[in-house]
């Protein structure tokens, strides 16, 4: 176990041990709206998304294709093509207003305070440089120092992500590595500057089952040891249940439900989350049909007026189609945008997480 040494070297963030409840959120996203303006139509990809992430917390954004989960993540680093993207709302990371940053400060933010890992590592790794060179370059760009120091740091990082015979792998090109190792190398590069926030866009989706669980466990361990806040985008409930502290379920560009992962999976409030759970295979009886959600997700070029899920919802009423339901807080730390969710815990202000259980230890407590 080389974790303790690794922690001391990687963690360049002071004050993480200070009382978590007193600390301001690491990420605050308020009423984020993202639209893509195309020649013939406007795609309403994200429609008023608000959430916050505290230091050391893992928020999973769960949603199907077209739910706006990846767009939300990319908007946080302003990675979307600026010419045809319209972003509104506020994004605050570590106290900085991301949407107002100039180009140089934005570069410092990317890869410095915030790192991102992707589904396809080849999008993040340059095929013409060795793994070691790429990681060393990143270290030197953000932290300075000599080439030898940076290379030593690269080796340290490869060992941190448990790449076997790391010394030799430093001189490998990305295509010489297997899928799982490549993913680990990308994670090493993302961690190279001790980010306080890790953005993960389906990093395990393209991996085989036996490799996916290895990478998931690695990410979970690293996140805890380094105390990184993490936003983990996935479409897979199983993956979310393995890594998330809190979970935000997105549908048609809105967060329809949010809460601690165990509670959301045990007793989902929103009909969409309920349907998603029912249609995710995990040992259902073979004698019956699966309780599938009927229909298809809405066209983001033409969203329905009210709740976007109403056309597929068996419980929908006429009010559902009138206006988009406001967030309701029926239980401690939980939110759902559904008119059928009763009761409003008014004492729980949005985003209201000050008093909830320390999320980093959900699994160990139960």
């Amino acid at each position: 176990m080389n974790a303790p040494t690794a922690t001391s070297t990687v963690m360049a963030v002071p004050g993480l041990d200070a009382g978590a409840s007193a600390e301001p959120p690491l990420v605050e996203v308020d009423d984020l709206t993202v639209r893509f303006v195309m020649r013939e139509a406007t795609v309403h990809a994200v429609n008023g998304v608000s959430f916050s992430v505290r230091p050391g917390e893992v928020l999973c954004i769960l949603g199907e294709s077209g739910s706006g989960k990846s767009v939300t993540l990319r908007a946080m680093l302003r990675l979307l093509p600026p010419r045809r993207t319209r972003i509104e709302g506020a994004i605050r990371i570590g106290g900085q207003d991301v949407l107002a940053l100039d180009k140089r400060r934005l570069r410092d933010l990317r890869g410095g305070l915030v790192s991102m890992i992707f589904q396809e590592p080849m999008t993040a790794l340059d095929p013409v440089y060795t793994i070691g060179t790429q990681i060393a370059e990143t270290v030197m760009r953000h932290k300075g120092g000599s080439r030898a120091e940076a290379r030593a740091r690269a080796l340290e990082l490869l060992e941190l992500v448990k790449i076997p015979s790391a010394e030799r792998r430093l001189d490998n090109y990305p295509h010489e590595l297997s899928g799982g190792l490549r993913q680990r190398a990308m994670i090493a590069m993302a961690l190279s500057c001790g980010p306080r926030l890790l953005l993960a866009d389906e990093p395990t989706t393209a991996l085989d089952a036996t490799v996916q669980i290895q990478v998931l466990i690695l990410l979970r361990k690293l996140q805890r040891e380094l105390g990184m806040g993490t936003i983990f985008v996935t479409h897979d409930l199983g993956v979310a249940s393995e890594i998330a502290d809190r979970i935000a379920v997105m549908y048609a560009g809105r967060i329809v439900e949010e809460g601690p992962v165990a509670e959301v999976l045990r007793a989902p409030l929103h009909p969409y989350t309920q349907g998603l759970l029912a249609s995710t295979m995990h040992g259902q009886s073979r004698d019956h049909d699966i309780e599938a959600i009927p229909g298809s997700p809405p066209d983001l070029r033409r969203l329905p007026a009210g709740c976007a899920f109403a056309p597929r919802c068996v419980q929908a009423q006429s009010e559902c189609r009138a206006a988009v339901p406001a967030p309701r807080y029926p239980l401690h730390g939980r939110m759902a945008r559904c008119l059928r969710v009763a009761g409003d815990d008014a004492s729980q202000p949005w985003p209201g997480l000050q008093h909830s259980v320390s999320p980093a230890h959900v699994s160990s407590e139960r």
Binding site: G295, S296, P311
Partner: protein, 301 residues
Amino acid sequence: MSQTASLPIGARFDDDSPPALRVRGYWSSVGYRLRHDPATLFFGLIVLLIVLAAIFAPLLAPFDPYKEGVVLRLKPFGYRGHPLGTDELGRDLLSRLIYGGRSSLLMGLVPVCIATALGGTLGVIGGFAGRRVNAAIMRTMDVFYAFPSVLLAVAISGAMGGGMANGMAALALVFTPAMCRVAETATAQVRSLDFIEAARATGAGMFTIVRYHVLGNVLGPVFIYASSLVSVSILLASGLSFLGLGVKPPTPDWGLMLSTLRQSIYVAPLSCALPGAAIFVTSICFNLVSDGIRSAMDVRL
């Protein structure tokens, strides 16, 4: 839907929601985009006017383009009812320009059509057939491809002797390899897609698959490329005529006119520039229209 109850299996129509945007076929959506592209429409209109003028030349031309007049040589604009003056043999320049469009446009379009048919067919065969047939076709094409196109056109039409038909044949031969390569690439791309494999799994023969599944997908890129070749063809044809390898005098042709008026460049510079301007305007309009068509057709479906 009303028939939900009578459905044979438990399934209902899950996806009955009406389409969000109007349902259009591929070609009608291309048409839609073209109609909303004013620049392409404008240049398309000019092309149309040039084509119409060439077709209806006998009605439009104020004079007989062959009628010479010794006293009327190289007269300026507007001289005795000749709006654009006369050429070095005293023929009406406007009439010759209008008639000249006929041969120039013909030389622009016919070789491209022949090359599209020939090269397209070879390319589809090459792209869909096995490795050996592909190698045989494509390596042959590469031999032609190795020469600069102008040189090749001059060499072929020179070897066959001048004349309009030979010129067109030469140009067609010049364009065929490029056309073949475009068709081959498009076919090879389509061939690797699953729906071709699905069609094979259905038990369809090669000819049926090509006819129903390949051609429709190859036609788009081939057509785009062909439209961009038209202006090249007009230019090359003018070049051939200029060198005396294309249209024979006294037939009016822009390239030929440019060649003969060239000697009078110091006497009547404006008259000399006219055929050049006609070539320039026509080819650039074809080019811009082709660009518009390309961007209208270039959608990832």
